[in-house]
């Protein structure tokens, strides 16, 4: 059993509940144990940086410190939490001054951060640690004929420049092929969904979402797969708004990658949070395995 210090993030408890449920199911099926970090706090997402930089890093550092105590890799399923954790960690390693400031604050909570954890995103834990071979072996229900638009979004890729091909990554497509689906190639896969602009500048965000939806639809995608709850909410929950604003008629389901993986692993759709969407995911049910999968407890 591979173990990880799991940082769900605030969204996964509410808006992104399906992500959390499906992540747990899939991890269980693949021999990955996600141990939730004890008493974690909000990472601040993109809302803290407009106010105070040091405080923003400190919030994440508190969670990193707690993860360090377990000695396990820090795993975040949400791209924004991942980006915050990754960079806080890397700055702590590079900048002794910053580390001193942050640790001075953490001391008040009896914590100290050393910057020794490895920060991972959930998707690459599956791809790199479990491995595509192993995943393929466990796939009992390949999603044949399902055309998936892999939506990377921004913060899972950027502003890192040192890894993968930031302009044209392929790892998500690799994962989707492994579970038997047909990933489609479309140019907007790394274009921003608007993130928090959905609140602070709705018009801008809706326009950005529309461009993504249109590109996916132009390429005949059956479903858009996401790796972040904010992206998922913007693309799915606000589809209705997009239609109202622009007179379009989009109705394309948006699923977390873990939900699709779950279906391929033969897990019952109900256990993956499918059915709880605003834009109906009913079309996904056709791809579920007919036999029920016993849940590992």
């Amino acid at each position: 059993m591979k173990q990880y210090a799991y940082y769900p993030g605030c969204s996964l408890e509410s808006l992104g509940k399906s992500y959390h449920i499906s992540a747990m199911e899939v991890s269980g099926a693949l021999g990955v144990e996600l141990k939730e970090i004890e008493d974690w706090n909000c990472c601040g997402a993109t809302a803290y940086f407009p106010v105070d930089e040091l405080l923003a890093y400190t919030l994440t550092a508190r969670n990193l410190a707690k993860a360090e105590k377990t000695g396990l890799d820090f795993v975040a399923p949400c791209s924004a939490c991942y980006k915050n954790a990754y960079f806080t960690n890397s700055y702590l390693q590079k900048d002794a001054d910053l580390a001193e400031h942050i640790n001075y604050a953490l001391e008040a909570d009896n914590l100290h951060v050393y910057g020794t954890s490895k920060v991972r995103h959930l998707i690459e834990v599956f791809i790199n640690d479990v491995g595509l071979e192993e995943i393929k072996n466990k796939v009992s229900n390949p999603l044949k004929g399902l055309r998936v638009a892999p939506y990377y979004g921004c913060q899972i890729l950027r502003p890192r420049k040192d890894h993968e091909d930031v302009e044209n990554p392929q790892y998500f497509e690799g994962l989707l092929s492994t579970i038997g689906a047909e990933p489609i190639e479309y140019a907007s896969k790394t274009r921003c969904c608007g993130g928090s602009l959905i609140v602070t500048n709705r018009k801008a965000a809706l326009d950005m979402v529309r461009i993504l939806l249109q590109d996916a639809v132009n390429h005949n995608a059956d479903v858009i797969a996401t790796t972040c709850p904010m992206c998922n909410v913007n693309l799915e929950v606000y589809q209705v708004q997009v239609n109202r604003e622009f007179g379009t008629h989009y109705s394309i389901p948006v699923m977390y990658f873990t939900q699709l993986m779950g279906l391929a692993l033969g897990i019952v759709p109900g256990h993956l949070g499918i059915g709880k969407e605003q834009v109906s995911g009913a079309s996904m049910l056709a791809f579920a395995q007919n036999t029920k999968q016993e849940r590992n407890l």
Binding site: K161, D165, E167, N168, Y186, A187, S188, I211, Q214, D215, N218
Partner: protein, 669 residues
């Protein structure tokens, strides 16, 4: 017994005198260093001037000086000046020592008192050292009159012709089957719009016919031994599988050859050639080569159509590579450049979007002998574009790829704009950050393009995409860019995109540099001896560089450098003998234990090991006097003339004479 030393302290205007009390230093040296041998000590405004030098010469004669110490600027600048001054007064130049109280003192300190004390210490060090100097004579080595030129592009061709015309033998080695380089691939050249082949081929023919040029194409240098004036170069002649004595260049072989291969070199992947081929019709020499990787005979043992049809029986499938060794006195490296790989910028779509072309691909399209017969058409080979977008600065001026500017892309992009307009009447957009048109006729060329109605958009292209958002964009390539002059993001639909990819050093430039004993910069271009004052020489005597191998430049500049390198070589050949600095390391054979630690440390490959006697020896012609081996030898068996242990330790003693403490100015002056 005791030396008679003259000390000269320079003001260098206010460069030194502004911080260091020069008169005080001079006076101090005269008084306090008298017991070391100083008989006269002066200071002067500009020691390097003729008057300053004459001052020294007068003293040498009248005071019968045996040593001279000049405290002034860095030896890099005027060591030669003062040595020559001494020579002029019949004092061996190596008995003169120049110590720097400018770069090492007045230019780096603001505390005047401390700087003056430091100047005294430095001068004292110089005096202590110079006592141990020996009169040295420069080494004289003969210069072999033949020259090796590596690279048959325009720079190499120019260099070869200049030297050959002067009556000396040149070996011109070229890796490809024909000379001509990148210039042979172009259609028209800026700013005159001369046809590239028309101006290049006469020179190529001259090279091919020249009695003094031994043309070795389809060949590569394997090994370089020796030193300036006396190089022994081993060259591998790859097998052409054609007997050149019999071949008359009729072309029947490639006409009959059934095997088509994508030509990734000359046609930039845009067209095909055969397995037996000449790269282009005006190839020099005219002999084809057989590509033994793709030829059916070598793959399956069949075909042999060329052999069947060759009227002079010139095909020889069993031909072997040949290694020859030539003796030359000087070497010129003119190995050219590689193009930046535009696939490294995925957002420009090269390799994914069909109608995105690189500059070299577009040159081949424009060229009348190219894959489209000179017609500017899209990848389908027939449709003419109605709008064309030309992107400047692809891979250049970008810290993510190459930070430098590639010098020629602006002019090249303007040239493309003109050609597109002239031949297709299409609408042309140029997307730039700055328009760089510095040379003769270049700015006027830009004016011409403005008059022709080219649409200039100032903005570095962010993306090239085929994802349409509005009906006008359907089926087009959309260039997304900020038009910075109006501060708006624009999406401009075009049919064809041309990327002006930058120049890079050849992918193997570091290996080639190592082969010849020179270095590369951080960007992998060969390094010149001095970026302003000596751009064609290298730090290795006898090896010169010319053309784009030294950095991005246009054709006129490449020709200039080729000619300059040739002139330097001719100057050396003409002297028949040159003198080398005698600052060298020597191995004391008796103390050498044969451990060979020094052999691999030498950056100039100047140390030989004698198997029979088990001792190492320094080749004085290759040795540059860097001192690495001297420091590394565990037995202390190597000493440097001009930097012996004695000299260095004495200099240190001299420096410490004043015992300058951390706090302030020394008490007793």
């Amino acid at each position: 017994m005791s030396e008679r030393i003259g000390v000269y302290v320079c003001h260098c205007g206010t460069n030194i005198a502004g911080i260091v009390d020069v008169a005080d230093v001079s006076k101090w040296a005269g008084e306090k260093l008298a017991d070391k041998g100083v008989v006269i000590s002066r200071d002067y405004k500009f020691m390097c001037s003729s008057l300053g030098q004459e001052l020294i010469q007068k003293d040498i004669k009248e005071q019968k000086l045996t040593r001279v110490v000049v405290a002034a600027c860095s030896p890099h600048l005027h060591e030669k000046t003062f040595r020559n001054a001494c020579k002029g007064a019949d004092l061996n130049p190596y008995l003169c020592e120049l110590v720097s109280i400018r770069e090492q003192d007045s230019w780096v300190h603001t505390d005047k008192a401390a700087a003056t004390a430091k100047a005294k210490a430095i001068t004292s060090g110089g005096v202590a050292r110079v006592i141990h100097h020996e009169a040295l004579e420069p080494l004289r080595v003969p210069i072999h009159p033949a020259t090796l030129v590596v690279g048959g592009g325009i720079a190499g061709i120019q260099a070869a012709l200049e030297i050959a015309d002067a009556g000396f033998r040149v070996y011109l080695v070229e890796r490809e089957p024909s000379i001509g380089g990148h210039m042979a691939q172009f259609d028209k050249t800026f700013p005159t719009l001369d046809c590239s082949a028309c101006i290049l081929t006469p020179k190529m023919v001259d090279v091919g016919n020249h009695p003094n040029i031994t043309l070795l194409t389809w060949s590569e240098v394997q090994k370089v031994d020796g030193y300036v004036g006396n190089f022994a170069v081993t060259i591998k002649k790859k097998p052409r599988y054609i007997k050149t004595e019999d071949c008359n260049g009729c072309g029947i072989c490639w006409e009959k050859c059934p095997k088509k291969v994508v030509d990734n070199v000359f046609e930039a992947g845009m067209g095909n050639r055969k397995a037996v081929y000449v790269p282009f019709p005006q190839a020099v020499p005219k002999y084809p080569v057989i590509d033994d990787v793709n030829c059916t005979y070598y793959l399956k043992g069949t075909c042999k159509a060329c052999e069947k049809f060759c009227p002079t029986n010139a095909i020889d499938f069993n031909q072997k590579a040949e290694e020859i060794t030539v003796e030359v006195g000087n070497i010129i490296l003119a190995t050219g450049y590689d193009l930046f790989d535009a696939r490294r910028i995925p957002q420009y779509g090269y390799g994914k979007l069909a109608n995105v072309f690189t500059n070299l691909e577009f040159e081949r399209i424009c060229n009348a002998a190219g894959p489209t017969g000179g017609n500017i058409v899209l990848r389908d080979g027939k449709t003419a574009p109605k709008t064309v977008g030309i992107v400047h600065c692809v891979g250049s001026r970008d810290k993510n790829y190459n930070a430098y500017c590639s010098a020629i892309c602006c002019m090249q992009s303007l040239k493309f704009a003109h050609l597109v307009r002239e031949r297709t009447g299409a609408e042309v957009y140029n997307f730039y950050i700055d328009i760089r048109t510095p040379s003769k006729g270049y700015e006027e060329f830009y004016q011409r393009l403005l008059e022709e109605g080219t649409r200039f958009v100032r903005g570095k292209v962010a993306e090239v995409t085929n994802v349409a958002r509005v009906p006008e964009e359907e089926g087009k390539l959309i260039i997304q860019v900020e038009d910075t002059l109006i501060s708006k993001q624009r999406r401009i639909p075009v049919d064809m995109v041309i990327l002006s990819s930058g120049m890079q050093a050849r992918h193997d430039s570091k290996d080639v540099a190592k082969l010849f004993g020179i270095s590369c910069s951080a960007d992998d271009w060969y390094i010149e001896r001095h970026p302003k004052l000596d751009p064609v020489a290298t730090m290795t005597d006898g090896i010169y560089i010319a053309g784009c191998a030294q950095g991005p430049k246009d054709i006129p500049a490449s020709v200039v450098q080729g000619a300059a390198a040739a002139a330097r070589v001719l100057g050396k050949i003409q002297q028949k003998e040159i003198s080398l600095e005698p600052i060298r390391a020597t191995v004391n054979e008796e103390h050498c234990s044969g451990c060979r630690i020094c052999n691999d440390l030498c950056p100039f490959n100047a140390i030989l090991f004698h198997e029979e006697t088990k001792v190492s020896e320094v080749n004085p012609a290759l040795c540059q006097g860097c001192g690495t081996c001297v420091a590394a030898c565990p037995a202390g068996a190597i000493s440097g003339t001009g930097f012996s242990n004695e000299q260095i330790l004495s200099q240190i003693d001299g420096l410490l004479l004043l015992n300058i403490s951390h706090a302030a100015v020394p008490v007793d002056n």
